[in-house]
């Protein structure tokens, strides 16, 4: 198996279609195949053992992904937003490597040994760089070869490299995408950065389904909206912070986006209020909420458009609340919620989320496979399954608040706070307490008329129970997120730990 099977099938059936860029002058599937062959030849002629990509979303992405697969070397997208030291450290770990980079990153990496750095614009003009192109069909078919190395976002500790093998990603596509299913008018706007697993899965899905990719180099809500209009974009994938900012910008502009038929969001906690507003500003779109991890080749659970419509229209509060769930497992993926002792949790009871399936890699270059003997992977997220089989994700296990021996999920407290119409965003986390070990603290972003701390405490007490009532309530301008939209509760905890709760 090789990712190149996906491109080969697509080109066989749809080689003349524009695969990336504007309809009138974009890159066709045939051209993408040719450029990937050129890059594969260049990699084979070099000493590179990996292909590093250090760039924004752009035309170079699929050439790099498929060219690396063709040559049989891992594709390693790294975060160009890292400070110099961090960026160089990741590149050093990948050496010897061929690096495709924007001009600024190319300069910053110039001092690292073992890198052959090629600036992106020059590369796109001449992908072969003087080397003979690879021969049609001569990619390696070892399903266990490493296709992609992704440095996980490292909300805790130094980044680890998650290993995705060809069989994981090919299984994901064959299991979730229908071949050549996109109409010739369909286009997907790609704003998620290349070092996010969703960029990898989205590239593969678009190519295989025949949908044109419209890359957006720098995410900005207004630029995104303008590009959607200019390019007739029909499909979008966003992390929740991006969706929230786009919804705000559309509100401010007094506009709706009628060409968009499908919006997928995931990769962090999304708020029901944002989703409900999004349903209004994308009147023609079906919404899909995906839950997945880098280590699982992206999505393992999805709340699809039909689920969204049914839940949004339901009079049943339990059904309506499911808008905030992660949906149900993909075909071929199993989900199990387990208690601390490894037994299956009861329906509705919180525990650790475990997943199993052909696409589940669960492996790091540093620590090897993390799968148990039966192929299950512990996500380190906590959550529960409801009576209809919908998965609710409460948050990272590391974020669980332990107050007087009682485990509490920050997500549950945040969801309760967000039911207040003036609460725009909320974060709950544990802070040290002499009496309880940990005590609940919350930071909230509000609009006026803002509720008082007392009202918010009453709200949590009424919806949950008294042990969940926050000892500390802080009103803040905004909450810290990393650049792929993950809420950094750990950072808030650090900020507040220097100043402990009295008692």
């Amino acid at each position: 198996m090789n990712l190149m099977m996906l491109l080969e099938m697509a080109v066989t059936a749809m080689g003349d279609r524009v695969a990336l860029g504007p309809l009138d002058r974009g890159i066709t599937g045939n051209r993408l195949m040719g450029d990937a062959a050129a890059l594969a030849g260049r990699l084979r002629a070099s000493a590179a053992e990996r292909l590093v990509l250090c760039d924004e979303p752009g035309a170079v992405l699929p050439v790099a992904l498929f060219g690396a697969a063709w040559a049989g070397v891992p594709y390693v997208p790294i975060n160009y937003r890292l400070p110099d030291d961090g960026l160089r450290e990741l590149a050093e770990r990948a050496a010897p490597a061929l690096v495709l980079a924007d001009a600024s990153s190319a300069d910053r990496l110039a001092t690292v040994d073992g890198l052959d750095i090629v600036e992106r614009d020059g590369f796109l003009a001449d992908p072969a760089g003087g080397a003979p192109a690879a021969e049609p069909g001569d990619w390696p078919m070892d399903p266990d070869a490493t296709a992609v190395l992704l440095y996980t976002s490292g909300t805790s500790g130094p980044p680890k490299a998650a290993v995705l093998r060809h069989r994981h990603l090919v299984s994901y596509v064959f299991g979730t995408v229908e071949f050549a299913s996109a109409g010739p008018d369909e286009a997907h706007i790609m704003a998620v950065p290349p070092y996010h697993v969703a960029s990898v899965s989205a590239q593969l899905s678009q190519v295989y389904s025949g949908r044109r990719i419209v890359p957006l180099p720098k995410f900005d809500p207004d630029a995104w909206i303008d590009e959607v209009r200019a390019q007739g974009v029909t499909h979008a994938m966003l992390v929740p912070t991006m969706l929230a900012r786009i919804v705000d910008a559309l509100d401010r502009r007094g506009e709706t986006l009628d060409t968009v038929r499908f919006v997928s969001y995931g990769g962090g906690k999304s708020h029901r209020t944002v989703v409900e507003r999004a349903l209004e500003v994308f009147p023609a779109a079906g919404f899909s909420h995906a839950y997945g991890l880098t280590e699982t080749s992206s999505t393992v659970c999805v709340m699809g458009p039909d689920d969204h419509r049914r839940c949004a229209a339901s009079d049943d509060p339990a059904e309506r609340a499911r808008l905030a769930s992660a949906g149900r497992p993909l075909p071929g993926v199993e989900v199990s919620v387990r208690c601390g002792d490894g037994t299956e949790a009861d329906t509705g009871a919180a525990g650790e989320i475990w997943v199993r399936g052909e696409q589940v890699a669960g492996e790091y270059s540093e620590g090897g496979s993390q799968l148990d003997g039966d192929g299950w992977f512990c996500t380190r997220d906590s959550g529960h399954l409801d009576e209809a089989g919908y998965l609710w994700v409460h948050g990272r296990n590391d974020d669980i608040i332990i107050r007087g021996g009682e485990n509490m999920s920050p997500g549950e407290i945040e969801d309760a706070l967000l039911t207040h119409p003036a609460v725009l965003d909320a974060a709950a986390f544990g802070v040290p307490s002499r009496e309880w070990g940990e005590e609940v603290a919350v930071c909230v972003v509000t609009r006026s008329p803002a509720p008082t701390a007392g009202e918010l405490r009453d709200l949590v007490r009424a919806r949950l129970r008294s042990s969940r009532v926050p000892a500390r309530v802080e009103f803040v301008e905004d909450l810290p997120y990393n650049d792929t939209g993950k809420l950094l509760r750990r950072e808030l905890r650090r900020r507040f730990t220097a100043d402990p709760v009295p008692g």
Binding site: S201, T299, E358
Partner: protein, 101 residues
């Protein structure tokens, strides 16, 4: 007989067809064009599909048995048609997948 498991790839020995197993495990009599299929890349093509098994395979289509125990995806199209244990495999009606990206 071939050993089925998700991800296993097989080629026709009488036409250009190649498939990958999406669902199903265990020994099976998988044929294309009336002749047993072989592990992909392991066999030379010899002969032609038999007349009663030459309706062809379609690129990217999923084929399954009536009992829904086996599903294979056509990764290269050819002139032969697929069968499992002598029973033709039919193109599966596409049920919309829960697209996530």
């Amino acid at each position: 007989m071939v050993e089925l498991r998700p991800g296993a790839r097989f080629q026709s020995t009488v036409c250009a067809t190649e498939v990958i197993v999406v669902k199903g495990t265990g020994s099976a009599e998988l044929t294309c064009g009336g002749a047993p299929m072989a592990a992909a890349g392991s066999a030379e093509r010899a002969g032609e599909p038999s007349a009663d098994a030459s309706e062809g395979t379609l690129l990217g289509k999923r084929y399954g048995d009536d009992g829904e125990t086996v599903e294979v995806l056509c990764t290269k199209a050819g002139e032969g048609s697929l069968a499992l244990g002598g029973a033709p495999l039919a193109v599966k009606v596409t049920k919309p997948l829960p697209a996530s990206d």
